[in-house]
């Protein structure tokens, strides 16, 4: 088993909480993990990414090679495209569809949508809308994790346990909200797959 995942977004969007949920789920399963993060200057409103690698065998590189990622999971559409050349041929591109426009020359919607749709394996999901329906816009990253859950190399239950552990201190209500966010994300991805 091996899953090489590139998580991406804009500094402050919360890609590291997705990384934390997936990592803890994988660690509890006894898998090997490497997860690199971006700290420092580029965090401030710039593009950020995290390379997350899971395997049942020891992992060497902290970085994923171009052309070899199983999944690009993004909280922002053009940030997903920034890393698309890291994907292997049949890799998945799963991204939040809501742009984060803190730059003046943001590409127009038709062009980024068209490029994402050229991928046979893609999911475009309005994670924030679903998160709002669930009860908190803050759970958008968990919705996205739900949409990616079939491709993480973990079972759905592994992820649920990860959520219980990560949000454990925040009480039952927060745990349940995030479990629901995960479920709604998964439900969306399953429907897309049928289409």
């Amino acid at each position: 088993m091996k899953a090489d995942i590139i998580l991406t977004g804009v500094g402050g969007q919360g890609i590291l909480s997705i990384a934390a949920i997936v990592s803890i789920s994988a660690l509890n399963k006894g898998l090997y993990i490497k997860q690199s993060e971006v700290h420092g200057m580029s965090q401030r409103g710039g593009d950020v990414q995290s390379n997350l690698r899971l395997s049942d065998k020891p992992i060497y590189s902290d970085l994923i090679a171009e052309g070899s990622a199983d999944l690009v999971l993004s909280l922002e559409p053009i940030e997903a495209l920034r890393y698309k050349h890291f994907l292997k041929k049949d890799g998945w591109l799963i991204t939040n569809s809501k742009p984060y426009k803190n730059i003046s020359n943001y590409p127009d919607e038709n062009s980024w949508r068209a490029e994402i749709e050229t991928f046979p394996n893609h999911v475009l999901i309005d994670a924030e809308k679903i998160a709002k329906e669930v009860g908190s816009v803050l759970s958008a990253n968990v919705v996205l994790a739900g949409a990616a859950s079939p491709y993480l190399g973990l079972t759905y239950e592994d992820l649920e346990n990860g959520i219980r552990e990560i949000f454990g201190k925040k009480g039952e209500a927060v745990i349940n909200l995030n479990l629901e966010a995960l479920r709604r994300g998964r439900e969306f991805a399953d429907k897309e797959l049928v289409k």
Binding site: V10, G11, S23, I24, L27, Y32, I33, K34, Q35, S36, E37, V38, H39, G40, M41, S42, Q43, R44, G45, G46, D47, N51, I59, Y60, S61, D62, L63, I64, A65, E66, G67, S68, I78, E79, L81, R82, K84, H85, L87, K88, K89, G91, N102, I103, N105, Y106, P107, S111, W112, E115
Partner: protein, 536 residues
């Protein structure tokens, strides 16, 4: 034994805690910051009263760590690579004094300059100081090297340099921990003159250091962190240093066919290099950082018998951090790239946080400077360096910690009017105060802005030594209080700020203006905590 999911930085902190450390010293700097941040959150550190407060700069950190070592206890000094430039005086001389309690200087290099002005390789400093260097290839080694390094340091009575790079610092992996060793007791050095570097003593100490080099290298030869791994294909031998080993192995999931010398402990062992090159006529050297090992092996006259590949002959990029693709290319391995880079993606540079006081300061400065023209603002290292980018385009220099004030002084001495310095509060107490004293003594015509956000903002809002002290420091240094102003960088104070700045820009002497407002990041965090306390 326990398995923890730790960043490389955190593994170092945990390794030091488990090795019986008594003091962490350091100044925040990407990618080294998380070492001390982890220690500050550790319950064991609190319980045992292990020192882990931030120092004012890397030099004071290095010296305090040396002082703790003098008293017989184990200490580390942490910093980013350019921080070692600041600490260099103490660092180099600590190899002449030697140590008493184990001392490890942990320096995090930043190849590719993700958050730095350069990508200098700290191994040069280790070689310069003639001390052992450890360079882990993964988080587990980073952990294990702390106990190993303290023992090595105490065995040779020398500081040890631990060099890590961004990818290891900021990458998490499972780390198996060991039992905790007890702290060392307070014991003074056997020789009361060991730390007195008067020339007559220093000469003896230095000769001792030189004479010990063969033994230090023998330690490398026998080190568990240097490994000669046999291969089946002797057409080439490979040397890897630090995390470069991972990029090599990533390309050979079923094992590398070539013999490999994996280096994690310096000085470079001649014996191991000779053993590797005995049977081969081609050598590839894969280093994360400068081509230091490569230059050492190539020498000046080169090797007739050995064809060497590496960063110097273009097989690997001359600059920047390595990755699996670079190494694959050098090895002649093709990675199938099915998807091209996107044509429509645009850069998303970092920006100041919404509501940040720096934004309103720069707006006021730009307006006040408009009639004076561009090119007259010397800035420094911090979030406010982003003032160099659009929409502000407000600053003209960023060189090293503290250089804003001193460069502005030099330019003023040359006749530049107005001459402006922009420095953050923590950078000011790190290395700006002495420069300001120079300007006070000569009443140099210049305007200094100390942007006081009461935090070390860029690295994540650590406690700043300057907090609530800027007024007293400036007064104490002798700044004329007639030309000292504290302003509030918010939109409604814009007019007031512009007026004060304009007035002081035209003053033919030294002015200091302090835009003061807490970092929005630390403020938000503080309010969130407060709200939680109230709810509870």
């Amino acid at each position: 034994m326990q398995k923890l999911l730790l960043l490389g930085d955190e593994a170092i902190a945990q390794g030091a805690i488990d090795a019986g450390i008594s003091g962490f010293y350091g100044y925040p700097g990407t990618p080294s910051t998380e070492i001390i941040e982890y220690a500050q959150k550790s319950p064991i550190v609190k319980e045992k009263g292990i020192h882990c407060e931030w120092s004012s700069n890397e030099k004071t950190a290095m010296e305090a760590a040396l002082g703790m070592s003098y008293a017989g206890k184990r200490a580390i000094a942490t910093m980013k690579h350019v921080g070692l430039n600041v600490a260099a005086d103490a660092f180099i001389n600590s190899s002449i004094t030697g140590v008493n309690g184990g001392l490890i200087v942990v320096v995090a290099d930043d190849p590719s300059m993700h958050s730095s002005q350069n990508e200098q390789d700290s191994r040069f400093y280790g070689k310069f100081a003639m001390i052992p260097i450890l360079e882990p290839s993964n988080q587990q080694e980073a952990y294990d090297m702390m106990s190993f390094g303290f023992n090595l340091s105490e065995k040779y009575k020398l500081p040890v340099l631990m060099r890590i790079t961004t990818r290891l610092s900021h990458s998490r992996s499972g780390v198996e921990t060991k039992n905790q060793e007890p702290e060392k007791s307070l014991i003074l050095p056997d020789d009361p003159r060991q730390f007195v570097l008067l020339p007559s003593i220093a000469k003896i100490q230095y000769n001792g250091l030189v004479n010990n080099q063969a033994n230090i290298e023998q330690e490398s030869t026998n080190s568990p962190f240097n490994e000669l791994i046999e291969g089946t294909d002797h057409t080439m031998g490979i040397i890897t240093t630090g995390i470069a080993y991972n990029y090599l192995m990533e390309n050979y999931p079923n094992g590398c066919p070539y013999p490999v010398l994996k280096v994690g402990h310096y000085p470079l062992s001649h014996e191991l290099v000779y053993k590797l090159t005995e049977k081969t006529d081609t050598l590839m050297i894969i280093e994360e950082g400068y081509p230091i090992v490569e230059e050492m092996i190539r020498g000046f006259l080169g090797h007739e018998k050995l064809h060497i590949k590496g960063r110097l002959d273009g097989m690997l990029p001359r600059t920047g951090e390595l990755n699996p693709n670079h190494v694959a290319k050098a090895l002649g391995i093709t990675i199938d790239k099915s998807h091209n880079e996107s044509d429509i993606v645009v850069a998303r540079p970092p920006s100041m946080c919404p509501g940040c006081g720096h934004i309103y300061f720069y707006k006021a400065l730009n307006e006040a400077m408009e009639k004076h023209g561009k090119g007259k603002v010397f800035a420094d290292i911090g979030c406010y360096t982003l003032g160099a980018l659009a929409p502000f385009n407000a600053i003209n220099s960023c060189v090293d910690m503290g250089a804003s004030i001193t460069m502005s002084k030099g330019a003023s001495d040359a006749g530049l009017r107005p001459s402006v310095a922009v420095i953050g509060d923590s950078t000011f107490t790190h290395s700006g105060m002495t420069g300001l004293l120079d300007a006070v003594r000569e009443n140099t015509p210049m305007t200094v802005f100390i942007l006081d956000n009461s935090a070390v903002g860029m690295t994540g809002g650590q406690k700043s030594a300057a907090t609530a002290r800027i007024d007293e420091i400036c007064k104490g240094l002798g700044v004329d209080m007639e030309h000292y102003h504290v302003v509030n960088p918010v939109p409604k104070e814009h007019g007031t700020m512009v007026d004060i700045i304009q007035k002081e820009l035209s003053y033919e002497g030294l002015s200091v203006i302090v835009p003061r407002r807490e970092c929005v990041q630390t403020y938000t965090r503080r309010m969130r905590k407060l709200k939680k306390v109230k709810q509870a």
